[in-house]
Symmetry: C2
Subunit: 360 residues, 2 copies
Amino acid sequence: MKERHVGMRTFQFPTKPIISGAAAVVGVKEGKGPQAQWFDKILQEDYYNEKTFEKAESKMLKNSISMAIENACLKKNIIDAMLTGDLLNQLMSSSYMARDVGIPYLGIYGACSTMTESLLLASVLVDGGYCKHTVAGASSHFATAERQFRMPLEHGNQRPPQAQWTATAAGAVTVSSPDEYLSNHNSNTIPLTNTLRVTHGTVGRVIDPGITDSNFMGGAMAPAAFDTIRVHLTDLGRTSSDYDLILTGDLGIAGKKILQDLAMKKSHNDSLPNSVFKGFKKVYDDCGAIMYFSEQDTHSGGSGCGCSASIFCGRIVKEMRAGKYKRVMLVSTGALMSTISKQQGETIPGIAHAVTVEVS
Amino acid sequence: MKERHVGMRTFQFPTKPIISGAAAVVGVKEGKGPQAQWFDKILQEDYYNEKTFEKAESKMLKNSISMAIENACLKKNIIDAMLTGDLLNQLMSSSYMARDVGIPYLGIYGACSTMTESLLLASVLVDGGYCKHTVAGASSHFATAERQFRMPLEHGNQRPPQAQWTATAAGAVTVSSPDEYLSNHNSNTIPLTNTLRVTHGTVGRVIDPGITDSNFMGGAMAPAAFDTIRVHLTDLGRTSSDYDLILTGDLGIAGKKILQDLAMKKSHNDSLPNSVFKGFKKVYDDCGAIMYFSEQDTHSGGSGCGCSASIFCGRIVKEMRAGKYKRVMLVSTGALMSTISKQQGETIPGIAHAVTVEVS
């Protein structure tokens, strides 16, 4: 049997679970941004025919899950477990979605790192043989996050240049056991070339650079992203150049620069074996930095669980299926803050989990 | 290789991960209750030398984790992953604990079902070979929960008879790979008789009986507990009588009666194979119902993630080590509500996850 734990703290998935389906649902603003063509559904208005923004967010998550299951040509009743989370207090969007969907449910919270946390654990459940099919997903909504974490929308307050815009977006993937999926697979509906497979995952440590400005989440999360990418590469004996794309969750424009600086410094540091960050800049990008056009006035870019969820489940999965990338590392990043911790003068701890996905 | 998925939706752990260490830390009121003798630390005052109740809760969780690691005779730096959660918005207690402890961290949210959710996933990570040692834990604090979910403490509002009292409590266990643990085990410190092993787990579905009264959580959670216990027993081809103890998380006195009624009805229902609830009443109890003396004025008993966490990690682990029980099913139960969902007229969905622990 192949090892399932490699290096310091990376999980290896010898069965290489298949990302059998994927879907992304986004809001109006995201549907006018540069990623619009990749999303499976763009809302006409951000209430999504619901009475509140919270219910709209829950519906977006629910629909992205249904569409991912459909995309995989699976039926809801054969999914063994569903792992999702969001930014709302007590995971309101996920909880009510889970009630409506009825699949056995594990609530996950990693702030905006939730997409990789859920994808990593969903892959563990499938690779370990506990589940045949799982769903992993995450959501966020500008209006629900803004009024919960910052200001009432009606207040119309000014936002500083380092601020990010919580994406109104949800994304989900189904993760399936290769044996199960391939034996039931109808190659008339989905071709078997360029199948996405999850090969490795690294659980992040919480790292706190001491930032207290809740508008500067990119800075709060960049050191955690750096740590996780470094460990993931080192554990696998790889460098950045072994990847076609390394994609962080939502460091935004400001945080992306910080991570690039950290990587550049460390790539010249002899104490790191093989300069794991060699060629980093060439393959690196950030979902937050590419979610909006600069004229969309989001300042430092996108954020929120749904940011990396919708770009990964919407765009990257399609691009990998089309053969554009062979190996991608997704590193969703989370700022573990709450309004209460901020009021108590606490700093903002960051976390990031990494998952490697390959086509074969 | 043995199957890891049995029946409809139960996970089987063929390697039988070991609960190598455990500890519980509780508040002043819990330390005056009937379970006092079992807790590893009882606070002198509920601020725990911190400036806020939230920081006190985080410190309780941190200390229960440190004490569990010590109880297992392990060192912090060899723990591969830590899975914890709490009731505070954005898991504040867990997030700040994880920053201070530094072990790779996966945030888990299942309301008061968090202890079994984290224990189940920690066992998956160990049994699947992804981790050698993991930590699972959960916490709650009366003062932090009350002011977040209900009324300011200073308000001194009346509580209805069906209300439960959020326990000021934290509990944690270390879950270890048997190979790893037994090869490094010093039998001078911990005898190898009556080793606790996690054998099975079932992920719960969200079930919503339509209750809107946030003081009646026991009623909101009882149907989910019933569903999970039924599935766990059916999947394993067992009945209640095969267990020495089936312990729900925090249905409280009112919810416990509802679950007993549901079980009695179904045990006479011929459509259920083997009457899985045969003998249920004899082996069944609820952590919320036994946490306080009736004169402690908690009405329907205890609740909160820390309720089942502290009773399992404090009392049940010690009793199993002492040979009192051979096989226990822990079924922590969660009410997936938030203040926002309540304000929007939503009902309270319930969830429950089950884990079977045996001594060998």
